[in-house]
């Protein structure tokens, strides 16, 4: 049953995306109305007199790509091939279509936020059980068996909608410090899940009805909460351009972390 519901959800997301990107790819019409191209990037103005946040960036289509290739120069250093790849991806009709569509991007982002409740909400409730913060009378294995399948569904929707969002703005996302943080945290969260399920959870029968689970389980629960909180926070921050490549000068450490090569240092 769970497999089927996952399948239905995936199909639904894909159909919605297809339907909405198709009419959205009308560049000539859109290009005349730059505000319509605005995406969820909040420009932090460097001019202190101006309003400092939440102005929408309008992407002049050719500029970011040109600027990025200028800044990265010949793709030396690590990530050069990836950078080229995402740069080409940003140029694809799929990416520009999604990027410039009137509703598709916003809808996918809404799905991403909605699935956050399903995934984050239920995963965190399971972690709360491990920490003895809720559902104390319910065996841990019961909570796991009943809730974790739903977090899997939520996670699948998150990954699909997240990948679609990434594909709409691949280059900027790839060079975004918060995006990179998020990916690393995701990896760590995955490792945490793996350690928990292959370790202390194997012996769950011995501590299933304990209100206070063993230390290893509590640590896994606390780590999981901390990591997912960081993932949500950094995910939200991707929309802000404080550390973007096209906002130089940045500190060297920032440029290193985002694999930016400012144009000035090339000469």
């Amino acid at each position: 049953m769970q497999g089927r519901s996952t399948g239905v959800l995936i199909a639904l997301v894909l159909v919605v995306c297809f339907l909405l990107t198709a009419p959205g790819a009308a560049p000539a019409y859109m290009a005349q109305r730059p505000t319509e191209i605005a995406r969820q990037v909040h420009l932090i103005s460097s001019d202190p007199a101006e309003e400092k946040w939440a102005r929408f960036v309008t992407f002049p289509r050719a500029l970011p790509l040109g600027a990025a290739s200028l800044q990265t120069g010949s793709n030396e250093g690590s990530g050069g091939a990836l950078l080229n790849f995402f740069s080409r991806m940003a140029d694809s009709s799929w990416s520009t279509g999604l990027h410039e569509s009137r509703y598709a991007y916003d809808l996918i982002e809404s799905v991403h936020v909605w699935a956050l409740c399903l995934f984050f909400g239920l995963a965190v409730l399971f972690d709360f059980r491990l920490l003895n913060w809720t559902m104390r009378s319910v065996p841990v294995s019961e909570v796991a068996r009943r809730l974790l399948p739903w977090t899997v569904v939520g996670f699948v929707v998150m990954v699909i909608s997240g990948a679609l969002l990434f594909s709409a703005i691949p280059l900027r996302s790839y060079q975004n410090i918060f995006f990179r943080t998020k990916m690393i945290m995701l990896l760590l969260a995955g490792v945490n899940v793996w350690i928990f399920h292959s370790g202390v959870y194997r012996r769950v029968a011995t501590w299933d009805v304990n209100t206070v689970p063993p230390r290893a389980a509590r640590v896994a629960g606390a780590l999981s909460i901390a990591l997912w909180i960081c993932i949500v926070l950094s995910g939200r921050m991707i929309a802000y351009n404080w550390f973007d490549c096209d906002r130089q000068p940045q500190r060297p450490i920032v440029n290193l972390l985002t694999s930016c090569v400012p144009a000035a240092s090339e000469h």
């Binding site: 936020v113 984050f120 409730l125 809720t134 949500v232």
Partner: protein, 158 residues
């Protein structure tokens, strides 16, 4: 005082100004608001899934609802507090934004529904409640809370 005047007063309040002038405050509050959303979503969904006969179905609805209640109330409080701060910083934009009014209407209905109709069904704990009615209540609850979340997301879209 007209409604618009009240919104203008909110926008010009000290808190609203402070948040608007800071580069970090709005994103930070917004991110906490989002964490609250995840938490409230979990607390709502776990009960609604149970009412739908999915999820933790071996446990009584009343027991489950009691267990997650502190988290529901707590995250709702967090949402309203952070949401209020966000609102103060852009009250005028909200006034002219359809999504804001959609969200407020959904929020009002969701709160009323959760603490009256749904609460009654939960407390009855399956006694004298037709299974179909439980499911309808769960679906309405999910729909209303989804309206709040998605409406909120669309306030950010111009």
């Amino acid at each position: 005082m007209s409604l618009l005047a009240f919104f203008q007063w909110c926008e010009q309040s000290g808190i609203g100004n402070t948040i608007r002038k800071s580069a970090w405050l709005f994103p930070l509050i917004e991110a906490i608001h989002l964490l609250g959303l995840g938490l409230i979503g979990g607390a709502v969904l776990v009960v609604d899934l149970r009412l739908l006969g999915l999820g933790l179905r071996r446990y009584s609805v009343a027991q489950l609802a009691r267990d997650v209640r502190p988290w529901l109330i707590g995250s709702l409080g967090l949402m309203i507090a952070t949401g209020g701060l966000l609102f103060l910083s852009e009250a005028i934009k909200c006034y002219y934004h359809g999504a804001f009014w959609f969200k407020m209407a959904s929020l009002f209905l969701a709160i009323v529904f959760t603490f009256t109709v749904q609460r009654k069904v939960i407390m009855a704990d399956g006694v004298g409640v037709r299974p179909l009615w439980s499911k309808v209540v769960a679906l309405v609850s999910v729909a209303l809370w989804s309206g709040v979340g998605i409406g909120g997301r669309w306030i950010g879209f111009s």
